[in-house]
């Protein structure tokens, strides 16, 4: 069972979010990390391989620092890593990102399973998995909270607000997982030491045979026009209870459409 896990390097949500002059997210000059939601995908892959056999390859598309996301995944236990890095990729939209990822997955080989997170924690579009599956011609089982691989099929449960759907697809397939699926492990001391010796390949667009004109800010179907910091939170309304506190509270909730 060979598994490829797509992992994204994102700015640390606890740090200040900054943007470049072209309105793209600054990924190069801020502290970043492996998108937390992708840790679940890595954990899911490791569990499957540990229960049987096979290899876990992690792949990221991102700037030089994105190697940190790969390192974390290798420390957790992934076997090898691929880093797609190319100046021309800067500013790519989801469509272009999925193109680059698809070519990278093909070059890695034909995996039995491609795993992704539910959504990145910065772009948060949740569309890359579906686009990637289309490009690879794989069945897609998205946003599942359980995952079972047996006899050439993959089964998972997608929990909605009203119903839970049980999904099944034949392998090879693409699956995106939620944060309900498992408890991602912390890298152990041995894992940290072992990761230093694991192979990391760095590929450019040329290595993937992708034309630079198909990616990047200029090729993007959508552009971020402007951005603004959210205004700081204002102080809440203070209600003094003069015997009518309950009524005022109910009125407030009703006005906010909470009740």
């Amino acid at each position: 069972m060979n598994i490829v896990v797509c992992v994204k390097y994102v700015p640390d949500a606890q740090g200040d979010r900054t943007f470049n002059e072209d309105n793209t997210t600054d990924r190069a000059n801020v502290d970043g990390l492996l998108s937390e939601l992708d840790e679940y995908a890595v954990e899911a892959a490791l569990k499957i391989v540990e229960a049987g056999e096979g290899e876990v390859t992690v792949v990221t598309v991102g700037p030089e620092q994105a190697a940190d996301a790969l390192k974390k995944a290798l420390q957790m236990g992934a076997d090898k890593a691929v880093h797609v890095s190319d100046e021309a990729i800067h500013g790519s939209d989801a469509v272009a990102t999925s193109l680059v990822l698809a070519e990278a997955v093909k070059k890695i080989g034909s995996p039995d399973l491609v795993l992704t997170g539910l959504s990145s924690t910065d772009g948060t579009m949740s569309v890359v998995p579906a686009m990637l599956a289309e490009r690879l011609g794989l069945p897609q089982v998205t946003q599942v909270s359980t995952l079972e691989v047996a006899d050439g099929t993959v089964k998972g449960r997608r929990d909605g607000d009203a119903v839970s759907e049980s999904l099944e697809a034949s392998l090879p397939a693409l699956v995106s997982v939620t944060d309900q699926i498992n408890e991602p492990r912390y890298p152990s001391f041995k894992g940290i030491m072992a990761a230093k010796k694991k192979p990391v390949e760095t590929w450019s667009l040329a290595d993937l045979g992708v034309d630079a004109g198909q990616v990047g800010l200029d090729a993007a179907w959508t552009k971020v026009e402007s951005f603004a910091q959210r205004p700081p939170r204002e102080q809440g309304e203070i209600v003094t209870d003069e015997g009518d506190g309950g009524t005022k509270l109910a009125e407030f909730l009703a006005a906010q459409k909470f009740v």
Partner: protein, 417 residues
């Protein structure tokens, strides 16, 4: 981050025969920093959200022990054959990093690791027979079990040689009688063994012969007294122990008969560096807390940090944190060098005492500064600095009081004894 102590004047005494450069070069490598990252992440996710509650309930978070075991924290200084990391170099520095980072979030969890390795695992690893190591170490390293080390007695603390606990050998068995006080990790649901020092006879020079004996938990005649009501370290396990007619096999002697005193002195040197790391974590936490608070808390229409009366205290704390960290990692580095045969026991002993003395006093001062800057909030348990304040004081007491450190340092300087 790179910690090269170019600005530190080393006061370590070196006898002429072993003269070395005054300024040793040591640094924390990228590997060290990677490891620090993981421990910090673990502490912030697994400890920080729950610690106020555990502290309030005096709850020992036993479930963290196997988790830390799995991550390799207990095995950093242990060879691979017993489940450890099997590092050739730098093992003790890794341990100090883990203790510092846990201690930055909570001192109780930090001391659980520090004592678990320094007092539980270390004596067995250093002095145990192959059979004893095989029997106890793998489970201690994995975090399935914990071990304690009982030296202090109700009437023998700083003067640990005054041990009254007695062990007599007859028919291939030791019978232990006596009491120990304040023993860390001795009464948890996973404690497998406590090593205790006991008088086993008299030496030729008339002084008591002291040996170390391993008493497995649950042995008849070994009573773990109820937990103490402590000022701090509420989430750490501390008990008095009573031995009355407690019988263990002769093979439970740890190390040589009569070497108990020497052994515990060596154990304490390592332990002091570990406590120093714990103190660095606490001082660091205070620095982070006050830096933030001084920016956001306003009084007289301005952030309080604009007043030099406040900001200078923060600056002083930053200096203390830096100095404490350098002293600690220098001592840890010397200890690692000692393992590789490049440094002497005397150098490590002196550096350990200096680091422990300075860092623990810095931590106590740091928590006092933090509570002061937090004002009334600093006295409230809703804020971690209140817990920090309660947790700090023991650092100046355990593993040798500040007075004892000064005695050791004076002795190292060759002052008359």
């Amino acid at each position: 981050m790179l910690y090269v102590d170019v600005n530190v004047k080393c006061v370590t005494t070196v006898t002429p025969a072993q003269k070395r450069p005054i300024l040793p070069m040591f640094e924390l490598t990228k590997d060290h920093e990677d490891f620090r990252h993981v421990v910090r992440d673990f502490a912030e996710r697994e400890v920080a959200p729950h610690i106020a509650q555990w502290d309030r309930d005096h709850h020992f978070p036993s479930h963290l022990v196997p988790q830390m075991g799995e991550l390799g924290f207990f095995g950093l200084v242990v060879p691979e054959e017993y489940g450890g990391a099997g590092l050739d170099e730098g093992a003790f520095t890794y341990l100090c990093l883990a203790i510092e980072e846990l201690g930055r979030v909570d001192q109780s969890v930090g001391i659980t690791l520090s004592a678990g390795v320094g007092l539980g695992i270390n004596p067995i690893l250093t002095y145990g027979t192959e059979e004893q190591k095989q029997r106890f170490l793998p489970d201690l390293v994995s975090g399935k079990t914990l071990a304690g080390f009982g030296l202090t007695e109700p009437d023998a603390g700083s003067d640990a040689g005054a041990t009254r606990t007695k062990a007599t050998l007859a028919d291939g068995q030791w019978t232990v009688n006596g009491a120990k006080a304040f023993i860390t990790n001795s009464g948890t649901d996973r404690t497998s063994v406590v090593t205790v020092t006991a008088k086993t006879g008299e030496r030729a020079d008339g002084k008591p012969e002291i040996s170390a004996i391993m008493v497995p938990s649950g042995t008849d005649g070994f009573t773990v007294e109820p937990a103490y009501h402590k000022l701090g370290w509420h989430a750490s396990d501390t008990h008095g122990l009573t031995f009355s007619g407690c019988v263990v096999p002769q093979e439970n002697l740890l190390g040589e008969r009569g070497a108990g005193f020497k052994q515990f002195l060596k154990t304490l040197d390592d332990g002091r560096i570990a406590i120093s790391a714990l103190a660095v974590g606490l001082a660091q936490a205070c620095l982070e807390q006050v830096t933030e608070y001084s920016k956001t808390r306003t009084a007289f229409g301005k952030p309080i940090g604009i007043n030099q009366g406040v900001s200078f205290q923060v600056s002083d704390l930053a200096v203390m944190v830096e100095a404490a960290r350098l002293l600690t990692y220098k001592a840890a580095w010397l200890k690692d060098e000692l393992e590789s045969g490049r440094r002497s026991v005397a150098e490590v002993k002196q550096a350990a005492a200096i680091a422990k003395l300075y860092s623990t006093e810095a931590a106590v001062t740091g928590t006092r500064i933090a509570t002061q800057i937090f004002g009334g909030n600093g006295f409230m348990e809703e804020y971690p600095v209140a817990r920090f304040y309660r947790d700090a004081k023991i650092l100046e007491i355990g593993e040798g009081t500040s007075e004892v450190q000064r005695m050791v340092i004076a002795r190292g300087l060759g002052l008359p004894q």
